[in-house]
Symmetry: C2
Subunit: 377 residues, 2 copies
């Protein structure tokens, strides 16, 4: 017997009581009972998004909400600035090009954060840019972008700022309204502690105006239809009822803990992970690390794929390897969602054991020692 | 205490053991464990669809798969024939027009089935039609279309036939390959006995060829990406893990019962419902009724909305009212998915009680008497 531990940056573990809530009798979505749930969910989720604006819920994975942000705000031939420093930043560009939107790319070195002054210059050079797309946490590199500074720059222009906070929300600070982020896109299987299958999108007044003029084709992800239904606490298409029941439950958990405490918990686990990793002699990959996931350079001589495989097959822990150009070069430990201090201790301990087995020069207990020290403060 | 009974044509009840299966620990989707599940699911679902071709699984509601059928098979300015005799047939037309596809409409009188000879004439008059869209069961009217005959006609042309079998599959016969249906679209919350959140799409070789030339923009629902992932038993985007675990479980249930028996059970429940309804003096709405849902004309003098409301609030039974032009004029009793004889008995009994309360001239027990007679044969 060895328990299964999910420590990839999504899907993340789902609390047992939420699993059971979703296992309750399915009710119809067009009933006063479900409408009451949805009304509550619509209000509570705004607090997590730190916005007064509507947050739409789609039955889709996060990529669907990314597509919704492109096809509802832009028109054919519009120009968009894509801040890309990893696989998920690039995805925004792919979606734009699939719909005939012209893209100006800001290629950030993988592992580094985007710089607001570069964004400013690019917006000056391309005054016709209609939207800027960025990630909060770039899951593929573990980098947190400084959305606050980027938002300051975008706010000065007529462009809107769209942020993929799919893996970042609730781990990294994101003050949607205060900072002036127009659209925040998220998914259920990360900080929200739910299974995959729901995607979320918040919409500012500035962004809402773009919807009227957008001529890109859409149907399932049409925000005009979503807005109309939202006003009646309804959804245009059949919602994923059981997942929304779970959402109701996790929103209560998050708001009971308090969003500040949720962020502090993630910060604490992330710092201990980074401290432990460095204390065992390994190197962090991200210059500006996210509190959702820690990317670690695979030590010289070790095999990155073998590490992920041994963690999975022998320790029953799912961690993530590197994607794209980073394949085999980094591994990623998530401390995201339903996670506490002993999950972090376990992750560090397993990393220490497996790297030693792979022949790395690791002193047993060093990683956990540092984490314990930090946790006992 | 009164139990909740879900008797609308979707969502439908979910078996308890499936609810518990979905409440098991969430595993990562890029693991050998999940891949083994998906490999099994991909094979088993073909048997339910009666096809040798791939069946793609989307994290979306059924409308998403309807959109996928349009945006992957057609190009801007292409012509499509829309067989519409209800709300869901019309939806295909809406999606086509949203993407710049020209639509030729075959307006079937609501409550009647589409005629294959009319389809034939329309295809002759419009030899440039690239795709024909139809429903198997038109959920809004309870009509079953004769897909076998329609397929015969379409097969003679270069057009492909797309069938929305969202509410019909597993209740009404659909021999996808044998009849030559190119694309079948379905959803999880109907005959599949799952919560909403998954959509399915089967793809023939003839339809696959259209994907290559299609120039409509798409990303989330891109079948080229889906095909590439499918070959590796993977999905392009994060799949709805818990729902797919449930899918694995319901597919086992359906194949254990045997698809022929599943169809016979639905036929038996539908016939008893129709028999009971007529025996209490009510009139059926659909001329060619589906075995998924029975549409009943609201009797003269009764208030259709009051009936649905009393069923819901006093009997705790969700049935469906009429949609669009049929609002208040019909109600719909589903016998779809996880349903047996005593669910039908309960539905008929509650209908009898509530209509009598609403002042209709109903003789208690008449509806159930007929059903009992049919069930005891």
């Amino acid at each position: 017997m060895r328990k299964y531990r999910l420590m990839a940056p999504g899907p993340t573990p789902v609390p047992e009581k939420v699993l059971l809530k979703m296992a309750d009798t399915i009710i119809h979505h067009r009933t006063p009972q479900f409408q009451a749930v949805l009304t509550g969910v619509n209000e509570k989720i705004k607090k997590v998004f730190k916005t007064q604006n509507p947050v739409f819920i789609f039955a889709s994975s996060g990529t669907g909400a990314m597509e919704a942000s492109v096809v509802n705000l832009l028109s054919k031939g519009d120009k968009a600035l894509i801040i890309q420093g990893g696989k998920f930043g690039e995805r925004f560009g792919e979606i734009c090009r699939a719909y005939g939107v012209l893209t100006v790319n800001y290629d950030v070195v993988w592992g580094e954060a985007a710089r607001a002054d570069v964004v400013k210059d690019l917006l000056k050079e391309n005054s016709d840019i209609k939207a800027v797309f960025s990630t909060l946490c770039e899951t593929s590199t573990g980098v947190k972008n400084d959305i606050k500074e980027i938002a300051k720059v975008v706010k000065e222009t007529s462009a809107v700022l769209v942020v993929d906070a799919i893996s970042g929300l609730s781990a990294d600070e994101l003050k949607t309204d205060e900072w002036g982020v127009d659209v925040v896109v998220c998914g259920s299987q990360k900080g929200f502690m739910l299974p995959p299958g729901l995607a979320f999108l918040s919409l500012s007044e500035k962004a809402k105006k773009l919807i009227e003029r957008s001529d890109l084709p859409k149907y399932y992800f049409d925000l005009k239809a979503a807005l109309k239904s939202y006003a009646k606490n309804d959804t245009p298409w059949t919602p994923a009822v059981s997942l929304i029941m779970g959402l109701d439950s996790v929103l209560d958990m998050m708001l009971e803990e308090g969003m500040d405490n949720v962020l502090l918990r993630h910060a604490r686990l992330a710092e201990a992970t980074r401290g432990g990793i460095e204390n065992m002699g390994l190197e962090l990959f991200a210059k500006s690390p996210s509190n959702a996931v820690t990317a670690v350079k695979v030590p010289e001589g070790a095999n990155g794929s073998a590490f992920v495989k041994k963690m999975r097959d022998e320790q029953r822990i799912t961690v993530a390897g590197g994607q794209g150009a980073l394949k085999g070069k980094i591994f990623r430990l998530a401390h995201l969602g339903y996670m506490d201090e002993f999950d972090t201790i376990s992750a560090l301990s397993a990393t220490s054991i497996v790297l030693k087995q792979l022949g790395c020069n690791i002193e047993p207990g060093k990683a956990v020692a540092k984490a314990e020290e930090m946790f006992s403060r």
